[in-house]
Symmetry: D2
């Protein structure tokens, strides 16, 4: 599939991430598309994703802390707000509809694949700068956008999940985040940022986070 | 003046901060109350406060990153949102009304008193935990609430500024932040937290931030 | 086996970590003891442990940053120095003796179990305070001490590895780190710290880090 | 005076820092050179410098945490070790010789100029990356080197202080830190780093830290 146009950095990093296809076309994703994903696997994924979203919200808040301009801070803050006060309650509702109550969510033990991914992202942000954090956040935000775009209209039992990421709101978010990244790169490194060693380091962060996304889907399938 | 009831921690820390009265009854504040504060001093303060608000927003975002429960994360995120997408634009508008355009704001050199205060708060958060950060954030949020409550109805050229902090919205925010702090203390340290060494360390953070607030007003008066 | 006496916190946290025995008596450890661990597994472990040690050194440096007293800073700094200028060169030498050159070490891809553990520890430190960081660091430092003490005198092909951790120097380090933790707890939370909710949270960090240690050994056996 | 050769970044940043001469030729420094600095001012400075050194050690430890290569981590760790286990005890001894005992040092209230400088450096490191931290650390390390080189052989009551920074050990440290910075820049940004927007941002950090050094000397003279 052609990559969605989420900007220059995404196009570059996506090409350089060896496991991008393993992530965006993972058996878990194909199961969502064809509707053959066992319900138990989906529920296991949802429970872990609740924990994931909490740490992901924290990571976007860290991006707001690390922004260098008011525009960067505001963009990150808007994402935090969307995650904390819209996505999280929505997720809790989806889980409730699926028979997973809030106590179950809150007492779910975090799987190693979840720990690996979320802590890698947060630590990238703490130890690095705004760019390091965005490079580690990008595979999740933009990969789900690409998956949503590809699975659009698949229907089946997971149509609700698919529509969320295929929908206009989420696709707009992907374009905004792509632009945030591209602007942040130019602001710090100039127009020719792609030729700098820094570009390679950031690409490696994106690739590592992509690798950890593969592990996250796999955890969904393995039930652990 | 009797302290407003912003909770148990505030009452305790306020009592233990030697410079609380120097801060909340500073000559700058009295000038706002009586209307005798020179306009130039107020404008100087507004320009520095623009920079302050950026770092204060970043610090609340850090609180969202450091929260231990979804409720803590959501509370901090709501404050970030209010600061980034309501307070900041409002502040820019107030400055514009006062003849300070956005370029002037963005090119203002940060005064040492501003650097000292904002970086102290942020570093408290980074080096410490959620409680350290809240203790350093509290004197600004709650002190402005106390000042607003005391100056309420003073009228004069600074009535707009006074009304913002005396108003119901801001007073509600103070009660919410006070409750956030009290709950965070109990969640981590139990009901008898006030007897622990930790309580003394947090009180010292509150006192240091209060001292830096005095320096901030003084910078307003000194024009540097 | 009776636990070594590395202090009060260790005794408590060790008892409350469900997977402590899974960690300290893991099949990998038993293979070291009996000498039946395949050489290839040991070499795989050594390569990953090189990466681990880099991040572990970084985490102890973060402890020096987060210490509240000169004594805490100095204790953490001494550990950083030992790791960066003694352990790391020693590890490089051990690997060289085993036929793994420096380039191989530096180009080893970090396994997910390694990412999970090291980033969990670092993020505990960044998001929490000095105590959170120590609780996440403790299972590695003190668990290796307990393993060394238990395997002492086993001989066999892994006697060199065993002797390092069974030796007086390392055992002294464990006592020092145990005392650092106990003192840090009392300094912040008072003598009765074990009764506070905070103690439970710290114990959970210790337990999670222990769980990730199990994953690390398992990675050694799985070769991935 | 010609600048000492501490590398390319230092030469550039020094030229671009408007207050470099105000810092390195401050009245406090001239008083050290001519011996006319009042003893009370020097003692006041020493007391504040004790607190400064603690935070400076913490900041170098953060550099070890944020290093991207083993060489960077080791270089920062060596500086931490020198500060924590050599400079700090030496400073305590110098203060003792001057009649300031350890309790006095530990109970000294941190002056606002001290808070501003140390927290600015630490926050630069936490919010930015390794380069941001080094740019904020450089004015102190390298400025004292330049002052030492210029004041060398001045004699008088402050000859001991001067000799420390004029001496071969300290001058070597300055060359090493200058090389660490230059290498870190090339490693991340390539040979032409000076043409990137990032170079301007880093230069601004160096300039702000230089401005805060001026405030630190001034605090010495003002006794507050």
């Amino acid at each position: 599939m052609t990559a969605p146009d989420y900007g220059k950095a995404f196009a570059l990093w996506r090409d350089q991430a060896p496991e991008w296809a393993d992530y965006t076309q993972h058996a878990f994703v194909e199961g969502l598309r064809t509707g053959t994903l066992p319900r138990a696997d989906f529920l296991h994924y949802l429970r872990q994703d609740y924990i994931f979203l909490i740490h992901f919200t924290r990571a976007w808040a860290l991006a707001a802390t690390k922004g260098a301009t008011l525009a960067e801070i505001q963009a990150a803050a808007a994402t935090v707000q969307a995650l904390a006060h819209y996505e999280m309650p929505l997720h809790v509702q989806i889980c409730a509809d699926a028979g997973i109550d809030k106590t179950t969510l809150e007492t779910t033990e975090e799987a190693p694949a979840n720990l690996a991914y979320t802590r890698y992202v947060l630590e990238s942000g703490y130890s690095g700068d705004f760019l390091d954090l965005l490079a580690a956040l990008a595979p999740c935000v933009l990969g789900y956008g690409e998956i949503g775009a590809r699975l659009k209209g698949s229907g089946g039992p997971y149509a609700g999940w698919i529509d969320t990421y295929a929908g206009q709101d989420y696709q707009k978010l992907c374009h905004d985040v792509g632009a945030l990244i591209d602007n942040a790169l130019v602001y710090r490194l100039g127009q020719d940022w792609a030729s700098l060693p820094r570009a390679r380091h950031l690409s490696q962060r994106f690739a590592t986070a992509t690798r950890l996304e593969v592990g996250f889907w796999q955890m969904g399938l393995n039930g652990a």
